[in-house]
């Protein structure tokens, strides 16, 4: 199999060797504090979020993370957030706006958690609110697809001023397995589905779905470079008048 097939990228995006959301956050902030809870009824560990400083500038970071082993994977449902996770995310993002803190989201999720309880607690409603209210936040908002960017569960945290994606990541309407099942009634055709779905960063940047491809991070130097890129973008957005920043953000999505 050629190394550059789209399905190979799917496997890389799902790889256990990928840098974890926690390691990424620790690498880009000096003093990160995790904050918990949605103030309604729960705390979803799949959403890892809090505050910290980046070169002395306060930021709010919200990540959707996968587990490091079988036990943590079970706790975070393999990186699938529940409504309380999305509610926690929205709570902390609104708080970021209050304190004028830029927001960074780090996304590695196959999609929102599909189960009965999640439906009872308003999975669709919470995603709809994160999309609508998230887009309106009057602070710089940078979204980064780190591994898998699956469907509405990823879009919920990817409606900011720009969307970046790691080199070994995918962003798609649903998994290639799901796509093959729905359109061809055959999940074994996932490899073929990945090809037609245009889910690699190279395909996505051509369509304007993402704005920048981040070289995969494997060591400290690469992590420092990522931090510098993020900080540079935050400085650029912070220097803009808020109305102009928002108009540019709205236009980004209006053009799709």
């Amino acid at each position: 199999m050629s190394k550059d097939t789209a399905f190979n990228r799917v496997l890389q995006a799902r790889s256990k060797d990928k840098i974890s959301i926690k390691a990424l956050i620790d690498g880009i902030t000096d003093d990160f504090i995790e904050l918990h809870g949605d103030r309604a009824y729960g705390d979803d560990p799949a959403v890892y979020a809090g505050i910290g400083s980046m070169n002395d500038k306060p930021v709010t970071i919200v990540g959707i993370r996968k587990g490091d082993d079988d036990q943590t994977d079970a706790e975070v449902h393999f990186g699938s957030a529940e409504p309380d996770g999305y509610r926690k995310a929205l709570r902390l993002m609104k708080q970021a706006e209050k304190f004028k803190r830029p927001i960074i989201t780090l996304i590695n999720t196959p999609g929102a958690y599909p189960d009965v309880e999640a439906e009872y607690h308003g999975q669709g409603y919470m995603i709809s609110q994160l999309i609508m209210q998230g887009m309106q936040l009057k602070v710089p908002y940078i979204a980064v697809i780190v591994g898998e960017g699956g469907s509405g569960g990823a879009l919920a945290l990817a409606v900011g001023d720009c969307v970046w994606a790691f080199e070994e990541s995918i962003y798609s309407i649903l998994s290639p397995e799901g796509y093959a099942t729905i359109l061809w009634k055959d999940s074994s055709r996932a490899r073929e589905a990945a090809e037609v779905m245009k889910l690699t960063p190279e395909d996505l940047i051509k369509q304007g779905i993402i704005d920048r491809i981040i070289p995969e991070i494997r060591n400290n130097d690469e992590l420092k470079r990522f931090k510098a890129d993020l900080f540079g973008k935050i400085e650029e957005l912070s220097a803009m008048p808020t109305a102009e920043m928002l108009n540019q953000r709205f236009a980004r999505y209006r053009n799709f």
Partner: protein
């Protein structure tokens, strides 16, 4: 044997059959009662459980509006989509619905209340949200914002349109922004969730209304039953995504029988028109 086979018709198959055959015995997809089609009346409701049978966009407008002026009827899927199977589906959907896309938008009058109205048509590739569908809805909200009109959107959709890939997903953001602008202008948006409303439509504009209404026993959810069963091997209870369950859990304002749709909407619109009195 034959009888058993008929009982196994899915809700979708049953509705499709109803469209083709004018007078038949039909089975309520919710309560299972066998009804002579004429007994459903002009609102197409089950006389027993009040399940509101699925109807097309134009039929809904006829039941609701005193007059209706559609706009952007010419908008259709971008010609860059070339998959022959998709093109064939579009062709068939256009033929069935008499629409170029999955939503009919325009300005209508409901008992004298001038309102911007969008009606999704479930027969158009399962009411899926394509790029043109999103564009029609965004323009509906933009027009309503300009003209200071309330918006009512009747949703009926399986979610994102798979054939248009990630651009379909982006429609959720595009329409949401148009909803926000309308909301910031102090105008009311009534989202009317019809059977079925699922996936990316539930996770965007269907749930963004100031008021969320639904029809009896309408299926409303994000993840589909089969996805849940397959992904986490959980068998959901029978009614876990029905309107009554959502009302109980706090995600709907009211369930309205279809024969009361017009009066309920005019009532809500009238209260919102009185908003000036509080200024």
């Amino acid at each position: 044997m034959k009888k058993n086979k008929r009982q196994k018709l899915s809700s979708q198959e049953l509705h499709k059959r109803m469209d083709k055959v004018p007078d038949v015995w039909v089975k309520c997809p919710f309560c299972g009662k066998t009804i002579y089609k004429k007994q459903l009346g002009k609102y197409l409701e089950c006389p027993d459980c009040h399940y509101a049978f699925r109807i097309g966009a134009k039929q809904r407008i006829e039941l609701l509006c005193d007059n209706f002026e559609p706009f952007n009827l010419e908008l259709k899927a971008n010609p860059k989509y070339q998959d022959p199977k998709y093109l064939a589906k579009l062709e068939k959907a256009r033929e069935t619905t008499g629409l170029n896309e999955g939503v009919l938008t325009g300005i209508g009058t409901i008992n004298g209340h001038r309102t911007a109205i969008g009606v999704m048509d479930w027969r158009f590739i399962m009411g899926s949200l394509g790029t043109a569908t999103g564009e029609l809805l965004a323009r509906l909200f933009e027009r309503a914002t300009q003209e200071k009109l309330p918006v009512i959107v009747f949703t009926a959709s399986g979610g994102a349109r798979m054939q248009e890939g990630i651009e379909s997903l982006m429609q959720m953001a595009k329409v949401s922004e148009a909803v926000s602008e309308h909301s910031k202008a102090g105008l009311v948006y009534i989202s009317y969730l019809c059977d079925p409303t699922t996936g990316g439509v539930t996770a965007s504009f269907a749930m963004q209304g100031d008021l969320l209404l639904s029809e009896p026993h309408a299926l409303i959810g994000f993840a589909g039953r089969r996805v849940i069963e397959r992904t986490i091997q959980q068998i959901p209870p029978k009614d876990f995504q029905r309107a009554e369950t959502l009302l109980h859990n706090g995600f709907l304002d009211a369930i309205v029988k279809r024969n009361e749709m017009k009066t309920t909407l005019s009532h809500i619109l009238a209260i919102h028109e009185g908003g000036d009195k509080n200024e």
